[in-house]
């Protein structure tokens, strides 16, 4: 379980950039074969400046953070996730992100931990990801 003393802790700002190769690996894994994720010309024809990221891609940004409050937390799973966009994210573009632990709630042998990932483009907020994970005690 997460120590409540970590409530409102932040990871610090990290620069995040998705390459074309990283996106290909992701979309192929989920079986997403739409050419808009492969061909910049098609993306531009649809009104994007470059190939857009699927709305769900920022869940992978968690790898860029090492939240100290999750250190040694072996078992947790996703309870809910909300992606909110002011504008779409693109490949080959630098974004700045920071992860914050915003709430903790206990329920019997479970703990729910709410995280907010804020993504900025040159200090303008472009997207927010709210992730609630549930941590569970081992059954004895």
């Amino acid at each position: 379980m997460i120590d409540p003393r970590f409530l409102h802790a932040k990871t610090g700002m990290v620069t995040l950039r998705v390459t074309h190769e990283a996106l290909q690996k992701y979309v192929e894994t989920i079986g997403e074969l739409n050419p808009i994720y492969f061909d910049k010309n098609i993306a531009c024809q649809a009104g994007f400046e470059d190939i857009p990221l699927p709305a769900t891609y920022p869940s992978l940004f968690w790898n860029a953070f090492q939240p100290i409050w999750l250190k040694n937390q072996a078992s947790f799973m996703l309870s809910s996730q909300v992606f909110t966009y002011i504008r779409p994210l693109l490949i080959n573009h630098d974004y700045q992100g920071e992860l914050t632990l915003t709430a903790l709630r206990k329920s019997v042998n479970k703990q729910f931990a709410v995280h907010i990932l804020r993504l900025y483009d040159q200090s303008s907020l472009v997207a927010t990801v709210k992730t609630t994970i549930v941590l569970t005690n081992e059954v004895t």
């Binding site: 992701y26 808009i36 994007f48 699927p54 072996a74 996730q81 992606f83 909110t84 966009y85």
Partner: protein, 126 residues
């Protein structure tokens, strides 16, 4: 009106491939014994698998000048290795400015295991 359905079979390959690309190798996803220690009968599929696949419902709209302004999913029950989940998407609003969808997912026993929303807005091309 249900506009689209996807059936997703949770194979070892699907979980392993998603773990590889997401680098989420939490034992609860990767190891049956670890999952059992927590009271679950089998490995649990990554929730993001379903959110990512649900996104495929609307990808054709992304190619027509729309972008996702909000995508939400709540998991009401764990989804296990070898489960089959049927995702069903319904349109609740469809205007020239906004498209709003609801998603539900049921497992092979007919139990609702997830629900979600997807909202798309027009790209500002100016």
């Amino acid at each position: 009106m249900a506009i689209q359905e996807f059936e997703i079979y949770i194979s070892e390959k699907l979980i392993d491939d998603y773990a590889c690309v997401s680098k989420d190798v939490n034992p609860i996803h990767m190891d049956k014994i670890s999952a059992r220690k927590l009271g679950f009968p089998n490995r649990i599929a990554h929730g993001m698998i379903f959110m990512s696949i649900a996104h495929k419902f609307i990808t054709p709209l992304i190619g027509k000048g729309w972008f996702v302004s909000m995508q939400e999913m709540k998991f009401t029950s764990p989804i296990f290795l070898y489960d089959t989940v049927v995702l069903e998407m319904h349109s609740v609003k469809n205007t020239t400015e906004i498209q709003d969808f609801r998603i539900i997912g049921c497992n092979g026993s007919g139990m609702k295991v997830l629900r979600g929303k997807l909202v798309l807005e027009r790209l500002n091309l100016s």
